[in-house]
Symmetry: C2
Subunit: 241 residues, 2 copies
């Protein structure tokens, strides 16, 4: 198992696509070069183009005799500097990172400014006016628990069910930035970005916090806010239960 | 006068060079497009390739009737997103940002890790082992005051004198990072990066803090540490007196 950190700015997301530069593609290439085996990793979260990770997870089977704990140093020497393996270890042969129960934490980072900030632009979304962080946090609390998150899911979803469980949801200031931090047992496609877009509608004064409860109960994507841009989103951690 | 912020990673420094992508070159191009005049800005600090700025300063003369305070919005719409004008205002016709007396503040940011961090790599230097921040701060204090900084200056310097005044020098932790913050009335070429390289030699235990005093008194570049890599350096602010 590899824990993988990346700056998603210059990747077309995690998943291998023809001719595109992807995180999975870079990992496969480096592992194949290292082991001489034709290996394809399985990722825990197939993050979108532009989305970052402190700790995404990938697994693969290999014949390689390199000790699992040392594998990270060998593979890092072959990876470009916007993706790095931060931990490598052996796991059970039947471990599948998308079929095992897990808890994921995401952060969506926002800065409020009339103008672009070249020093923040890769890892935060710029909102042009002030946001009411307390109202956003109050609104986020309605998301906690097991709910049908259909309103917060891309309409193109192939998920069998849109019921998910959010364990915690907080909005707070971090220096000059605003951070939306959400922990849950599984997320739908685009769910955190739609949550972020909806909470910004509350923060800007377009709606009161209780609006988020109404959106949730309406189970209709058109009630929620826009899908917030990818550069603000970071997959912070995945814990397997 | 323009205050300019930039992510220096993808620039070959400030100063215009043939065919190279530079901050000054992007500013000239945008101003010329906006005003139709053939203008070349004068920069306060000609930062090196890879060095960043929160607030570098550029001035120019123009016939343009755009109010100075609005100029920033017009020019930002023509600039790439790794450089942004954060303030624009009118100044005296005889104001020259390199001939006026000024106080500059620089920060050099370090993270200590055996492995690369894709989320920090653009704005911080990776040191492979732990550093003793208290000893580095103690060493930095020897730099305060008016001294001959010949030891901390690139040997290729064309400066008439290597005497400069450091007003404050501090080394402290900022979350997981270590920051060297230096404020002074003028700096020699590569001075902050050589200070950073020398303080890291103290932090790693190669020398005691008093070594910095000996380097200073020796007035010999070979006594100081290496020139630290550019990506850790940020020009934070320039104040004109």
């Amino acid at each position: 198992m590899l824990r993988v950190s990346y700056d998603g700015t210059d990747f077309c997301g995690w998943q291998v696509q023809n001719e595109m530069r992807t995180v999975e593609g870079e990992l496969n290439k480096a592992i194949n070069e290292l082991t001489g085996e034709d290996i394809e990793v399985i990722g825990a979260s197939r993050t979108d183009s532009g989305v970052h990770a402190k700790g995404n997870v990938a697994v693969f089977d290999a014949e390689s005799t390199i000790p699992a704990e040392k594998f990270m140093y060998a593979i890092n020497s072959l990876l470009p500097d916007d993706v790095t393996v931060v931990e490598s270890k052996e796991v059970d042969i039947d471990f599948h990172p998308r079929h095992c129960r897990s808890v994921k934490t995401y952060e969506y980072r926002i800065y409020t400014s009339r103008i672009n900030n070249p020093l923040k632009r890769r890892f935060a979304f710029r909102f042009p006016t002030e946001l009411d962080v307390e109202k956003m946090d109050e609104a986020a609390k309605y998301l906690i628990g097991e709910h049908d998150f259909k309103s917060f899911c891309c309409v193109r979803t192939q998920a069998e069910t849109t019921i998910r469980e959010i364990i915690s949801a907080d909005v707070y200031r971090d220096d000059e930035d605003i951070v939306i931090r959400v922990t849950g047992a599984g997320f739908l496609y685009n769910m955190v970005r739609i949550i972020a877009g909806s909470l910004m509608e509350v923060g800007s004064g377009k709606y009161e916090p209780v609006h988020i409860k109404e959106v949730l109960e309406g189970t209709d994507r058109t009630l929620a806010g826009p899908t917030a841009e990818p550069q603000g989103l970071m997959l912070v951690n995945i814990e397997f239960l």
